[in-house]
Symmetry: C2
Subunit: 232 residues, 2 copies
């Protein structure tokens, strides 16, 4: 089964087994139920040995977080490019739906990213880049529509973006490489946060007994925010 030649190969293989065992246990027991010892057990190691591959439990979680961010980011990007030829609103809605699908398929991963941070855990810098893929994928939809001149100017929502926000918006516009009116950026942020708020509520059963057709509701709210942005 295994013929590990060089030491580096061996290390990579063990690390892979370790990570996928951890991923399995995360999917079952959630972040709080993830135990280094039980991961070690699953890959036939003693608990102290895994510390050769991982600094600590928090380190393991950080790696899982990065992996998850990348997975979700890839899903969003894939959906956005898959629907590049659709209508802008359809594209927005389809990408949102992909994000929701990913979250429902692996709720513990979603909660690892957007739920309670682990006790005493502060997300390190390494997570910011992969964490930005999702919002970037969403922004790119808006950007494409805008540069193509298809973005319908927002209806009277301009006064909703006060001057104090201009500073943030100007800097943000540089980062994400878009030159949009403040109202458009505001609406985009609104759509982005609404999306995740809704998914979070669905996952934590906040809408229990109130909503049955979650998919339909999600699509409706998503299209509403997309419309607000000016996507058609």
């Amino acid at each position: 089964m295994d013929a590990p030649r060089t030491r580096q190969q061996h290390r990579e293989q063990v690390t892979d087994e370790l990570m996928s065992a951890a991923r399995r246990q995360l999917a079952q027991a959630g972040a709080a139920g993830l135990s280094l010892r039980s991961v070690a057990r699953e890959i036939g190691m003693v608990s102290s040995a895994v510390y050769r591959y991982v600094d600590s439990r928090d380190d393991l979680l950080t790696r899982l977080i990065i992996e998850s961010y990348d997975s979700l980011g890839a899903a969003a990007e894939h959906a956005a490019s898959e629907h590049a030829d659709s209508g802008d609103l359809d594209r927005w809605s389809a990408t949102a739906a992909a994000i929701r699908r990913w979250s429902l398929d692996q709720p513990h991963d979603y909660l690892l990213l957007y739920g309670s941070p682990v006790p005493g855990y502060a997300a390190p810098q390494d997570t910011t880049t992969p964490g930005g893929r999702v919002p970037l994928a969403l922004v790119s939809i808006v950007r494409d529509a805008r540069t193509a001149g298809r973005l319908v100017p927002p209806v009277e929502a301009d006064r909703a973006a006060p001057a104090t926000l201009r500073v943030d918006f100007d800097r943000l516009a540089e980062v994400i490489d878009i030159e949009a009116a403040p109202a458009i950026m505001l609406a985009t942020i609104t759509g982005w946060t609404q999306m995740f708020g809704m998914i979070g509520f669905e996952l934590t059963n906040q809408t229990r007994g109130v909503i049955d057709d979650h998919a339909g509701l999600f699509d409706a709210t998503t299209r509403l925010t997309g419309w607000l942005i000016g996507l058609r």
Copy 2:
């Protein structure tokens, strides 16, 4: 210091001490860092003794959850009634701001309610009623504006509420005692979820390095969703 007469009084007093010690530790270490033994220690008890007052750690958490829901619900209701004479949009925004304020003041409580559920923990029925106070407070703002005839019909957003949602919306309309067009309900739900999505992002540092003026952004998005509902 203490002259506990009847046994019942004694029990209530100890329970109070226990809960407030738990609350203190929750505020510091978060839900995952909350330990029954350390709570016991703080109130000068041995760990096994606290099981006379609490069924399990999950039971303790459930009680904390209910307390927190009530606290947040009260904050929202207070803000809504405090601004009953303001403009509808101001009232909506002020209530949202109160919810955000509460969340920032006690982030661990917020995450206990809306973050990752505790491992193997399924929110019992007891939490649904207090959990509904916040959305009800928000809905009441919309209802008041509507019954007073001040609600501006939504701009062209009607087609965003598909027929399949009518079932949910009809049932929901009964529960929250409001007869509003589907588009209004959709926009209200959008505003509600957006609000919590935004707060969650701020608390989990999802907008780190991107946004400075969180208060301003929150107010802007809130007013935008309020405007979408038809509040003015």
